[in-house]
Symmetry: C2
Subunit: 257 residues, 2 copies
């Protein structure tokens, strides 16, 4: 807690400012004996309000990512940010509010990372466009792993209100993907079948992949991830030669008995 080496966020995302390196030498003196009140007042004035806010936000993100929402204490966030407890509440309503802001920002970034598929586009096939979207999503999520961790494990089941928020976003993504698949079906580049199902399965596969990479350090570069997901999407992995030409029941259940 004492250490105040000019820490910086390891994976500082592009737009999120570099503010991490606070100018705090923290002289730590003025140890008056009367009452240890406000003894160390470090000159943090170099930071304007927006930057300080941002700094706290980033530190909170790291703490949330490391500990999880419930285990993350305000004290820890405050210590990480090198600010007093009161200062925290000067900038954020409460714990929940700062968490929500982290998630909201992540959603905003994510939301911009995929674009609607245009089946008319002559220069890129629907498949290519879907792949592009996957790439962008993966890229965005890997750019800031701490936040991705939070999205994948902390934001789920926190709160009914929060769940609704997640749900809405998730459905938005799902809808977009599903529309792409429907377009693809019309063009014959997507197999027939329930697109809603495909959407769920695809997103699940994507989520799990990222979970493995981010939560446990499964080593794998972005390129590889995108390729693997896309390949799985395209071909599956089982080869079941004795396939009925119809759509359903790859291996009928009762046929076994």
């Amino acid at each position: 807690m004492q250490s105040n080496a000019p820490q910086r966020t390891p994976s500082a995302p592009p737009e999120l400012t570099r503010a991490s390196t606070l100018a705090l030498s923290a002289p730590l003196s003025v140890g008056s004996s009367t009452r240890g009140v406000a003894s160390t007042y470090a000159p943090k004035t170099a930071l304007n309000k927006a930057a300080r806010r941002q700094h706290i936000l980033l530190c909170a993100r790291d703490v949330f990512a490391k500990r999880g929402y419930h285990a993350a204490k305000i004290d820890e966030i405050v210590a990480a940010a090198n600010v007093a407890r009161g200062t925290f509440y000067l900038y954020f309503e409460d714990k929940r509010a700062i968490f929500e802001e982290i998630v909201d920002r992540a959603f905003a970034r994510l939301g911009m990372s995929f674009v609607r598929v245009d089946p008319e586009d002559a220069t890129r096939t629907v498949a290519e466009q879907i792949q592009e979207n996957i790439r962008r999503i993966v890229s965005t999520l890997l750019e800031d792993r701490a936040t991705t961790k939070i999205l994948l494990s902390d934001a789920v089941g926190l709160d009914p209100a929060f769940d609704r928020k997640l749900l809405v976003f998730y459905e938005e993504v799902g809808r977009l993907l599903e529309e792409s698949l429907v377009d693809g079906q019309k063009l014959g580049v997507v197999s027939e079948g329930d697109t809603k199902m495909m959407t769920i399965l695809t997103l699940g596969a994507l989520k799990e992949m990222l979970y493995q990479v981010v939560m446990r350090g499964l080593a794998m570069d972005e390129e590889r991830i995108v390729d693997e997901i896309f390949r799985f999407l395209s071909k599956g992995c089982l080869r079941v030669p004795e396939q009925a030409p119809g759509t359903a029941e790859p291996v009928t259940r009762t046929a076994r008995a």
Copy 2:
């Protein structure tokens, strides 16, 4: 708390008893004026200790499933089980212990629901055996949706110790599936490629499917779920005709520019 219709469990189902409706007539009298102490003592003695423990366990499961671990209060569990606070601690060490037991039991059941694939088996193909396993897992998880909810959202990120437990189990499942895939590759019924990757993607798809069904009431019967997952596994959903015959890079990234 007041209502107490004198009903009792008509039949004791196989293992997990449905004991919810306890036999409590609760005369509710003895309203002495001195101090309102222990006025209602319902004759619950019909339940032996094991059954009562089981009953509390089931009620706790429901509360955890509904509220999530942190929001679930002991008071609520106790109220749901129609048992005094003290009684709860007669049967369980603490909140964490009862939660852990719920999860452990679920794992035990799940662990028994899949069997090792035998590539030598003449009567069933590897694909069929994999499908059988999927069916069994899905069946087990849908049998007790409350517990599945808990597994999917509460048990994750609770605790480092807990996470490890989950991890171990998850890896066990993963290893089993992966071995099946490797066997399948040797027999030529599984496409070449990284089996670890396939495993992750498959489990992710499965998880997401179950999540949608259990957490939000996506209507879909067991049969359908198994078929959809298996189909996705077998064929994917995209058809990318211009495929290089090699293994990697379905649509090369740089080719686009």
